[in-house]
Every structure is written in structure tokens, then in C-alpha cells.
Symmetry: C2
Subunit: 262 residues, 2 copies
């Protein structure tokens, strides 16, 4: 899996790239089948919503489950990431953001580097966030909203919000969001289950609550150059893994094959 | 202003009707110009959000402002309503739902008749809710979501929710929402400022919070047949007006003319 020149140019310009049909329905079904047992675990990486017992995000999944251990090494994710950021990338964070039907709450306006830099001492905004939609994502069930082009402004003013949701997040000031949206507008990332998505560490994004009766689970792996690794270890391992071993891709059929990731 | 046979059939089938371009940009500007002063009033009809001082809904506007006094008698609203429900309609409720940028909170799944019947003793679900978009309404700033066809099931199980927002609302049970959406899907009502919208008293709808930097104000007038008037007066007048005088339409240019509504 290689990104085309057109896709590379689009990523450079917009700061994000949607990859329709990146994973097949069979592959998505294989991944989804693992979720109920993972969400039921009493694990510190399962963070619940502020207003309900629903899992908001389930973290560290590649260390908790053999199918997700394969997914973080999938060539359709690792290949494009290496093309954009070089061969030596480590697995920084692995999660499913659940956004359950009726219960899933918002993610405020933020860019990932504000957290990575402030909390983990990551030097530069080089990490890539790679998503795989595990449910159909529509205008109704809390899709991600992106400000295309916002990545080009680099780190914007942000502050730690520990109040709005159950997940402490470095969020962008409203005046900055308004200014960036006035210049660049907004796009939403929607598509059927299996859709892929790549965006960088200074891309400003948010997502509204899911008031619909449809779940909206999205898998996310963050890959960061080993040369740009964390320098502080105050957050738990499942929020920023300490294992800096470069990730190596598995065969393209790894999710459906019986072989374990060695 | 008369609805076409095709529009009447669509309203019968779907339970809602979007009317693009119902009001001109000049008319919308005239209405919007009145809002800041109205929202600044210390009036019991100005109900603020749970988590901020922003006005959530401003009610009783035709008794508080001469331009909104004209709007509730506008022939492009009153004409279609009379066509659907007969000539003798009274003004039940008049408001602007503000849904301010960043601050506007959700409206839960509900149909208006649950409140009209339970609180006000309205006998039958005959009231019509007529909307005019005062801002562009997009996928990003908290549009209304409708379950088209849900009106045909009549009153569904509902319960009074006094917790989720600052506005007590009779909301539909989640199982019912899930069932109805599984049968009929969802549609969102979006369009530029000036768009009109009509839906009936058993139409199940909701709207998500507005996390965008764009305001989303929508005007709403509820017209109810005089023969179907309230039988209980426990809610304040601005939530269900007591004046049952049938509304009569003004000239089509009333919003832009200097003449007051006599």
C-alpha cells in the first residue's frame, strides 16, 4: 500500500487524507468481534463517559488483544505512515474511541500535539494519527470535524480541560478555532465502516456527541518517529507506550489469517 | 403562498416539509437585527443554557417585539398552516431557539405533542411547528434530525426529562427511537438562512449540540386549531399562550414595510 503523488499532495495541503474502503467488511467484522470482551474488562485503559458507564475510549489494545496486535502492524496503515515519516516509527498510542449510541459525548477542539508535547515531552509535531472506521460514520453519529489547512499554523494556544468530559484534553482556544474556521472552513470525515483516515499532530479537530441510535466506534493508532520519542513519562503507558521498537508491517492478509503476530 | 399537491403528499408521507428560500436575505436581516436586544432582556421567556449564560431559547417574542409580531402573521407561514389545519388557528408558542456557537446544547429526542398533551391538556396532535432558519444551518452547527414517517405512529412512550438540559422536556424512550430509526432512518434539515420548515405534533426529532464557531438561530411558531386548544394552564403564558384569537395573515411584504401589525 503506497500513497499516490496526488494523495501526498492532498495530505500536504489539507493535513488529512480519507482512504475509502481501506479495510474490507470481513476484516472489520473480525475487529468488531473483539470489542465486547475488551470493553467488559476491568482495565485502567477503559475510560468511561462522564455521564454514563459506557466506555468512551479503550486504550492499549495491541497489548490486550491478538487481533489488534496485528492491526497496529497492518501494512495498509504502517506503509503510508512510513512513506510520510520514515521507516523507524514506534507505536505511541492504540485505542478505539467508542462514541456509543445515545451516550457518546463530544471531543472538544484540539490537536494531538498539544497533549503529546505538554504531557509527554514529544519534541516535534511529527506523529501521525491513523484511523479505521469500525462502524459507518455519518452526519448523525458524531463524525470528526476537521479544519483543513489548520495543520500549517503549527501549535496554537491551548489549555488543559479537565471539566468538559471524562478525558483530560489540551483544547484550542475558541478565538483560534473561530479564526481558523473563518479562513479554511470545516469538513467532516464520514464513510462506511472500513474507511481509513490519516492526519497529523497539529491538525485541529473535534467531534460532537452521538445522539443517534447508531454506535460510532473508530480505531486509532498513533505512530511517531523513534527519533521524536517522548521525553517525559508522567502519563500511563496505555496513553503513551514506552516501547520504542520500530513497528514492522505484517502480510496484507494478516487480519484474516490464523497466524499470530510473532 | 399555497402548498402544491406534491408538497401536501410529501407532508402526509414524511411528516415534514422543507421550504427552501421561504424568506429573503433582506427579511432575515430584518429579523436578526432584533435579536441582540431581545436576548439581553431580563425576561422569564429568555431561558439560558445549563452550562453557560447563553440564551437557549427566547419565548413569547410576538408580544415582546413588533417585527416578530408581524412574522407570526406572515402569509408564508399562516397560509400553509391554514391549508393543512383549517382557518381558525391560534398562536400557541413563539420562540427563537438560539443554539449559540460553541455553547448551544442538545435537544433530546422528543415530539411536541408529549408536552402539549401532558402539560397543557391539548386534546389531539394537530398543532404545526413552523420554522424559519435565521442562520445558515449545516451539518456542523446542530441541525434538527427528524425520523421521517415517525408522525404516523402517533404518541409514543415519553417521560419528563428535567436533568439533561435547562429546559424540561417530555422525551421519547430510547428503545422507541431505535425502533423508529431502524424502520425509517434519519434526515437532517439543513439549508441557508431563510429556509422554512413545517412539521407536525407527533414528529420525533432531536438536535445535537453546536460545537462549531457558527451560531444556529431558528425561529419557531406553533399554530394550533382553536377547536383543539389547551385545557390546562399550568405552564407560563410564554410557553403556551392563552389568547385563542384566530391568527389572520398580513400582506406578503409585511416584514419590510414600515406599517405596524394592527
Amino acid at each position: 500500500m503506497e500513497l499516490t503523488a496526488e494523495q501526498l499532495a492532498r495530505f500536504e495541503r489539507d493535513g488529512l487524507l480519507v482512504l475509502p474502503g481501506l479495510f474490507s467488511p470481513e476484516e472489520i467484522a473480525r475487529l468488531r468481534a473483539e470489542l465486547p470482551a475488551l470493553f467488559a474488562e476491568d482495565h485502567p485503559g477503559n475510560i468511561r463517559e462522564q455521564d454514563s458507564a459506557e466506555v468512551r475510549t479503550a486504550m492499549g489494545l495491541h497489548l490486550r488483544n491478538p487481533v489488534f496486535a496485528k492491526l497496529v502492524r497492518h501494512p495498509r496503515l504502517v506503509g503510508p505512515a512510513r512513506q510520510l515519516r520514515g521507516a523507524a516509527l514506534y507505536v505511541q498510542q492504540v485505542k478505539v474511541n467508542v462514541k456509543a449510541a445515545f451516550e457518546g459525548e463530544q471531543w472538544q477542539w484540539h490537536y494531538d500535539f498539544a497533549t503529546h508535547h505538554s504531557e509527554d515531552g514529544v519534541p516535534e509535531p511529527l506523529a501521525l494519527n491513523l484511523h479505521v472506521f469500525l462502524d459507518d460514520v455519518t452526519e448523525f453519529n458524531g463524525p470528526l470535524f476537521f479544519i483543513p489547512g489548520s495543520q500549517a499554523y503549527g501549535p496554537a494556544a491551548a489549555h488543559l480541560d479537565t471539566r468538559t468530559t471524562s478525558y483530560p484534553l489540551w483544547v484550542v482556544e475558541r478565538d483560534t478555532v473561530s479564526d481558523l474556521v473563518a479562513r479554511h472552513g470545516l469538513v467532516s470525515a464520514t464513510g462506511p465502516a472500513g474507511t481509513g483516515l490519516i492526519f497529523g499532530d497539529t491538525m485541529v479537530h473535534a467531534s460532537p456527541a452521538n445522539i443517534s441510535p447508531w454506535d460510532r466506534a473508530i480505531f486509532s493508532v498513533i505512530l511517531n518517529p523513534v527519533a521524536n520519542a517522548l521525553t517525559r513519562r508522567q502519563r500511563p503507558d496505555y496513553k503513551h507506550h514506552r516501547d520504542l521498537t520500530p513497528v514492522t508491517p505484517l502480510p496484507d492478509d494478516c487480519l484474516l489469517s490464523a497466524a499470530a503476530a510473532e
